[in-house]
């Protein structure tokens, strides 16, 4: 892997007065990658994005674009463009003028600007609105123009700060596909910020999960979901059950934990350095309720049932521990499991994960 990374965040911290918004953040974003910063609101995603764009300066550390530091260049000299959360279109300019703005500042020739603007408006299906002003557009249309405006100057990196959060649900899904398409077609590195895990899992090549001003884990969507490195990530991405327990044996990446459920589970671990208290994380859909369930099994009682159409969610109590289980409704008339039924819980140890406290 000798490929030059598009963006490198090197030991960046950001302090607002006494408050630490970012704490030694350190990672690389590859060329042509759809990279997502995912984390709860207030964890510093926007701050990091604004430092990459040049609107904030790091208190400590360095930011590199294509291997060269950009910490000293002002925002208007960075070949990076931003799609702002509330679009920030220029209200006094037509859509075509909005898209042309960056190109004019870069000193493009008139003819080139015109053809590029046409091309970009075409690309976001807004060509027929070129002469309108932003106030005549719907939210989704504004979003498209913001994208066209930011992509027109062919930036090295495109930053997107929660670009879909202001759109309604239906539009959001189609804009997801649209964004992925644009990223593939243009080959531009996208840095996408969201607090919506589903959006992140759906769209990204890689995700950096952020929490408390730190990067908690970086990985492909399935790595983040299936192999969380700590409790924060396991909890924030999707749903999970945490079973308290004691690690009794530790061998590198695997460990054996004696859980509160009363069974011993040997599986992969992360963050456990010595035998002692730890948790077992097991996703609701990885637990079976059938009598023939494989792996570790235990009897339990169904205490609640929520029918969701495609899935049914159950809460099952076993040995004083309550577990969430979700089961796909694969058959139209499946055997129904009702509240009060006794079921056999079972899961494959490989589907569970031991996490340090």
């Amino acid at each position: 892997m000798s490929r030059q990374s598009a963006i490198e965040i090197a030991g960046v911290s950001k302090q607002f007065g006494d408050f630490t918004a970012l704490d030694h953040v350190d990672f690389k974003i590859q060329q042509n990658e759809f990279f997502t910063l995912l984390g709860p609101s207030g964890c510093g995603k926007t701050t990091l994005l604004r430092m990459i764009a040049g609107f904030e300066t790091p208190t400590q550390g360095d930011i590199l674009l294509n291997g060269k530091t950009i910490s000293d260049s002002p925002a208007h000299r960075r070949k990076i463009n931003t799609v702002f959360q509330n679009y920030a279109l220029f209200p006094h300019m037509t859509l075509a003028q909005n898209v042309a703005f960056g190109l004019e500042n870069l000193g493009w020739a008139k003819g080139d600007i015109k053809s590029r603007v046409d091309e970009m408006l075409e690309m976001v299906h807004m060509a027929q609105f070129a002469r309108r002003k932003p106030d005549q557009l719907s939210g989704g249309q504004k979003q498209r123009i913001a994208l066209a405006r930011a992509l027109a100057p062919k930036p090295e990196v495109l930053l997107l700060d929660e670009p879909l959060s202001a759109l309604d649900l239906k539009l959001r899904q189609s804009m997801r596909d649209e964004l992925r398409r644009l990223q593939r077609e243009t080959g531009i590195t996208f840095v996408f910020v969201t607090h919506d895990q589903e959006e992140a899992l759906d769209m990204s090549d890689r995700i950096a999960v952020m929490g408390n001003g730190r990067v908690q884990q970086i990985g492909a969507p399935d790595e983040i979901y299936e192999a969380p490195e700590n409790r924060f990530v396991a909890d924030f991405i999707g749903e999970t059950n945490f079973l308290d327990g004691e690690v009794t044996a530790l061998d590198g990446d695997t460990a054996t934990i004696h859980t509160a459920l009363g069974i011993d589970v040997t599986t992969t671990q992360s963050g456990v350095t010595a035998p002692g208290p730890a948790v077992l994380s097991i996703r609701p859909e990885k637990i079976g309720l059938e009598a023939q369930a494989e792996g570790e099994t235990r009897e339990g009682t169904v205490v609640s049932r929520n029918y969701m159409g495609g899935f049914t969610h159950y809460t099952v109590e076993a040995g004083g521990v309550s577990l969430r289980v979700s089961r796909r409704n694969a058959q139209a008339r499946a055997d129904r499991i009702e509240v009060g039924d006794t079921v056999t819980l079972g899961f494959q140890p490989a589907n569970a994960r031991i996490l340090g406290q």
Partner: protein
Amino acid sequence: MRKQRDIRSYPGLRTLSLVFFAWLYLPIGVVIFYSFNSNRLVSVWEGFSTKWYVSALQNDALMSSVRVSLIVALFSMIFATTIALLAALVITRAPGLKMRRVSETVVNLPLLLPEIVLAVAVLILFSQVGLNSGMFRLVLAHVAFCTPFAFMPIRARLQGMSLDVEEAARDLYAPPLTVFRRVTLPMIMPGVFAGAMTAFVISMDDFITSNMLNSGGGTTLPIYIFSLIRQGTTPELNAISTLLILVSLILATIVLILNARAMRRDG
């Protein structure tokens, strides 16, 4: 639950409004009406005529005072608006500016001081530095009290304008001056225009300071009108006033239209 009553249906409100607006506009209506009166006696209607307009426009002393007022108001407007714009930019945009409130108060101070204090102060100052030229003195003095009037609408628009748009401009490779010229200025233009118009009108309208600084080449329209009144009212006054009302209405309408357009645009 009874529906909340529309405030317009409150008893007596209609009458009260009518009385109020009559009280406000009737005198003005009377002035306009009698400006077309052919009789020399201001309040005795004789017949329709525009002769007072002709005689007003041919009155050299009157026209010269109009010219002084317009020139002084124009320059006061330009200087006051420029100063106000720069002050508003610093006060709303400078990062980590210390004493923001104090700076703002200093700009607005002439609003709080009685004008007579300011007038006496500039008179003393000018006579000490030996500044006698009529119009130049007037412009200097007018800029002082016109600036806060120009400042307020400009600051309001700068504060109301979201910073993202300026960041978006920077993001799209615009250096600071381009950001100002192509984004900030066009977006606050209605405020700048309203500020300029207010400064212009305040300067045109000024009496106390202009009277204090009255000199050979520096008699403004309000001073001249006042001197006419002391000799007894003439129908020419009605004609001049009507023309002034017309000009003010045009200016106010332009400001209103510009603001309405900007409001719609910026959502």
